[in-house]
């Protein structure tokens, strides 16, 4: 699809239009458009703004309520990271389901009749937002740490390493992929958000309870419970076995349903 296609105009056609060269739509343009669509409604704008607002509020809460010795970069990152890990997947869900709930897909898939390209652009736009949000959170947390330690008079504690920040970003990216997966699977904002809360709050509690009361499940849980596996990215040094468990659980709970959802989107009728 890299060659430009000229519109054929027959010379015999009395009312022929001037020929013009039509260039294919570059993917970068699709990503720009999808990014725009994430910000251009009130709901979308405030959802994005909430990333910054949550970071500031969580930072303020740590400064106000945490004991002096708890003013550490790690505590800021945990305080900001928890609410952010809820908001980011919802951003991912809505980027997909908006096309169906608001029926804009009718126009989107008509202007760009290659749904795989549209979804890829959405995924790239979503992940860009996610990674930028993480850096915003990092910056706000660092400012909070400086401010907090200035207030307590203690030296600022910088206890988040680059590797730790990397695994936190990975955890959030996986969370956003979960949202994206639920979006393509359900293609309805309400259903996907309910699905997300089941995924991130109901299932972990249920599996946790099962592990607590059933001996046989205790050793099995890390291989089954995907939230358990992802949560370890936040606070535990990852071992080879932990990575394997992350791979197995995300394969079952994320990658396979994602593949099924993508297949459904590509085939389904857009109404």
């Amino acid at each position: 699809m890299s060659t430009a296609t000229a519109v054929p105009v027959s010379s015999s056609d009395a009312v022929a239009r001037p020929a013009r060269t039509i260039a294919p739509i570059p993917t970068s343009r699709l990503v720009t458009v999808e990014l725009r669509k994430m910000f251009d409604t009130r709901a979308g704008f405030w959802l994005m703004a909430s990333v910054g607002i949550i970071s500031v509020l969580a930072t303020a809460a740590v400064i106000i309520w945490a004991p002096d010795e708890a003013i550490t970069q790690n505590n800021f990152s945990v305080a900001i990271g928890m609410p952010l890990s809820v908001v980011l997947p919802i951003i991912a869900i809505l980027s997909v389901t908006g096309e169906y709930s608001q029926r804009t897909g009718l126009t989107t898939y008509t202007l760009v009749p290659w749904r795989g390209r549209v979804l890829s652009a959405k995924l790239v736009a979503t992940l860009l937002v996610g990674v930028v949000a993480m850096f915003v959170a990092l910056a706000v947390g660092a400012l909070g740490n400086l401010l907090g330690s200035a207030l307590t008079g203690l030296d600022a504690v910088w206890d988040v390493s680059l590797a730790e920040f990397g695994t936190i970003v990975l955890a959030n990216v996986l969370g956003m992929l979960m949202g994206f997966m639920l979006g393509v699977l359900f293609r309805s904002s309400a259903a996907a958000i309910v699905g997300y809360f089941v995924y991130s709050f109901v299932l972990p509690v249920a599996l946790g309870a099962l592990a607590a009361f059933q001996e046989w499940f205790r050793d099995l849980q890390p291989w089954v419970d995907v939230q358990f596996a992802i949560t370890r990215l936040y606070d535990v040094t990852m071992t080879a076995e932990y990575w394997q468990q992350l791979g197995v659980t995300t394969l079952v709970w994320l990658w396979i349903p994602l593949a099924l959802g993508l297949r459904a989107v590509l085939r389904a009728e857009v109404k």
């Binding site: 039509i22 725009r36 608001q102 029926r103 804009t104 202007l111």
Partner: protein, 298 residues
């Protein structure tokens, strides 16, 4: 030119579109007429790749829709004016289309003016739009890429009489400039004032197609006279079928023959004209009576 070749779409055992074939010619406005649920929208969705056909195919200027590298510049599409994000402003929706197609920014304001949306209206969110304004915005999205082909599903829905007249002039101008227009409607009067050619569909099958003048000709002549009975007898002697209507007859013949017969019979005519609207409407009702939902009542 749009070419539909033996298109069939089945949903399970239900056949929504059944071996439909027709062409919408360049330089003409083709009306796609049928009662609700006749298969118009399904056919149009197949045209633009939103629905996969069970069998058959559609080509636009000789190519499959998915072969177009930037379809918005070649085919303007409006399938449902209500399928626009309620939280976006009209201008924003048009800007998204402009950016997707890679058009200059100035096209947005120009196209808004072309469809008669004011600056103030363009700044409002679509949830505050009337259906007529949504139609205009949808038509703007279809027109912004300066395409050669327009595919519009029920575009006159919600337009006031002035709006319908505006659209007629717009589509007429578009076809005169060498464009192809296919528009659907379930209202005969709406499509009658706009279209050159008509495709009539009922229960997924094409029941009539041809130029409007052909279809009108087959609808006969309307005649009113002082002595209707004598005229009817004279026409029957000329082996012409007549149907009595209020104060006159509908005759399955052209006006010239009816006039000549009346002259020979010495009957004074009060009215003699092609039975256009009424005839076509009767045809439409007749053709779709056994297929339309309202069929039983009609």
């Amino acid at each position: 030119m749009i070419s539909v070749e033996s298109l069939t779409k089945q949903y399970g055992r239900f056949t929504a579109v059944d071996h439909v074939s027709f062409t919408a010619a360049t330089g003409r406005v083709t009306g796609f007429l049928g009662p609700n649920g006749a298969g118009k929208s399904t056919t149009m969705r197949v045209m633009v790749g939103l629905t996969r056909p069970t069998t058959g195919r559609v080509t636009i200027t000789g190519r499959d829709y998915r072969e177009l590298v930037n379809p918005g510049l070649e085919v303007g599409v409006l399938l449902d004016a209500s399928a626009q994000h309620a939280g976006r402003t009209g201008r924003e929706i048009l800007t998204i289309a402009q950016q997707t197609m890679g058009l200059p920014k100035t096209q947005v304001a120009e196209t808004l003016a072309r469809v008669g949306l004011t600056e103030d209206e363009a700044g409002r969110r679509v949830r505050d739009y009337s259906l007529g304004m949504r139609q205009r915005l949808g038509i703007a999205t279809a027109l912004i890429g300066d395409p050669e082909v327009l595919i519009l599903d029920e575009p006159a829905n919600g337009l006031d009489p002035a709006g319908i007249r505006w659209m007629r002039d717009l589509l007429r101008g578009f076809a005169n400039d060498g464009g192809t227009v296919l528009l659907s409607s379930h209202l005969l009067h709406e499509i009658e004032v706009i279209a050159d050619d008509l495709i009539v569909i009922g229960q997924g099958r094409i029941v009539a197609q041809g130029s409007k003048s052909e279809l009108l000709a087959s609808a006969g002549t309307l005649v009113r006279a002082t002595d209707v009975d004598t005229l009817a007898r004279a026409l029957h002697e000329a082996a012409v079928v007549t149907t009595p209507i209020d104060g006159g007859l509908r005759v399955d013949a052209d006006p010239e023959l009816v006039g000549a017969t009346a002259h020979r019979a010495g009957v004074v005519l009060r009215e003699l004209r092609p039975a256009d609207g009424a005839g076509l409407e009767e045809m439409f009702l007749e053709l779709t009576a056994d297929t339309a939902r309202e069929g039983a009542a009609a």
